[in-house]
Point group: C2
Chain length 216, copies 2
DNA sequence: CTTATCTTGCACAACGGTGTGCAAGATAAT
DNA sequence: ATTATCTTGCACACCGTTGTGCAAGATAAG
């Protein structure tokens, strides 16, 4: 430990402001590279951030520490928006709620992408799963209500359908890393994809989506 | 090279029959482990196959060689079924064609899964892309016909929709690695997921799927 | 049974990645 | 301008993995 990974006790001076700047630069670089290859090296990440590998250890004790911080940051951003984003303001209509969740994901795409890389396999599964738990639980409940109300397809168990909708949304988010999609179009796609997996026709989905709208 | 990676010239004797057996055992083991972690080590793969790491080098010169053989095997299986599977027997109806393609993927799930791991990122992208090209081209054409005929959603460009359908199908195949899905149910899911992304409602998809059917 | 084939077990060099130490340099706060 | 903070560049040890060599053992083909 050559530099403060912890809060300096009764700090005699404020930390340099480029410290926090570089820290986020590293996290951003990690997000980019880990999206392309979840096994990217620290040297690569440091270079992408415009720093040295050695400097990274001034901000994160361990490679795993860095990844953990990255995942935590993403989870916080998403959690902060679950409430603001009026998901539950879609009173009763599960279809609107699903659309709103899709829009939320699209807004946080940068953070969601990297979480998706570690969500399924590898040693970070548990962490990501825990971080995404409230989001998943919300979707699960919405789907259950929708099935009961006959708004969604009724041939699948709620929990399975919820996971499939999640998968459909992620497929779009993944496609977005290759096809340039401008804001509204991307959100529109995520929403219709989710609703399509949920059982709606294209026409129905479009109706719901325009009713919900999308604001950056 | 301690053992024949090549055809023995005027072979004085037939190769032991457990050679071919072990070779496929290695490939199968690789398929299993590489699905879980695309960076699995040779030691792990060898162990999974019930062999030694050293023995693997008796069958494949290189780690990359092994992966390449695995991908090639998968591509061949799929290519062999594109014709047999009466995709184009869905005369004119793009929806049936998409359903049949979904069923084909489900039948070859073991091979498709591992290809999906290397399809998007990493140094094997090109190989996999080339191997899957005919399949993708076929889907691309089907989608184009479907859009023109007003059978599918018309708000997306054909090539983009084709990729999204592919993504939806893969999402289901991925889910299948965690949720045990028995034959017909899995095929049903892949088909409805693809058709849902294509714009059909659940009811429409079900109609198409039952019309197409599924035979193991 | 004899023999070629395949496997094992060990040893070794090479590579890339990680994590750490330390001294010199650059930079922003005060 | 001074000083604490942050970065750099080099050094090193450690680890896991890959690829190879070789001799002894197991196994299936003839």
């Amino acid at each position: 430990m050559t530099t403060p990974h912890f809060a300096p006790p009764p700090s005699p001076r404020a930390p340099r402001r480029d410290a926090a700047l570089n820290r986020t630069a590293i996290l951003d670089a990690a997000a980019v590279l880990l999206n392309q290859d979840s096994g990217s090296s620290l040297s690569a990440i440091a270079a992408e951030a415009g720093l040295t590998r050695r400097a990274v250890y001034g901000h994160f004790e361990t490679r795993d520490d860095l990844i953990l911080a990255l995942l935590t940051r993403g989870a916080e951003r998403i959690a902060a928006n679950i409430h603001l984003d009026s998901v539950d303001s879609a009173n009763g209509d599960s279809r609107e709620a699903i659309a709103r969740l899709g829009a939320l994901l699209w807004r946080e795409i940068g953070h969601v992408q990297v979480m998706a890389q570690f969500a399924v396999r590898g040693p970070f599964m548990a962490v990501v799963g825990e971080a995404l738990a409230p989001l998943r639980l919300l979707l699960r409940e919405v789907v259950e209500r929708g099935i009961a109300a006959g708004q969604l397809r009724t041939d699948l168990e709620a929990s399975l359908l919820a996971r499939l909708i999640e998968g459909a949304a992620l497929a779009v988010l993944d496609e977005a890393t290759r096809t340039p999609l401008e804001g509204a179009a991307g959100a529109h796609l995520v929403m219709t994809a989710s609703l399509g997996m949920a059982g709606l026709s294209w026409a129905e989905s479009t109706t719901v989506v325009t009713r919900v709208g999308y604001t950056e």
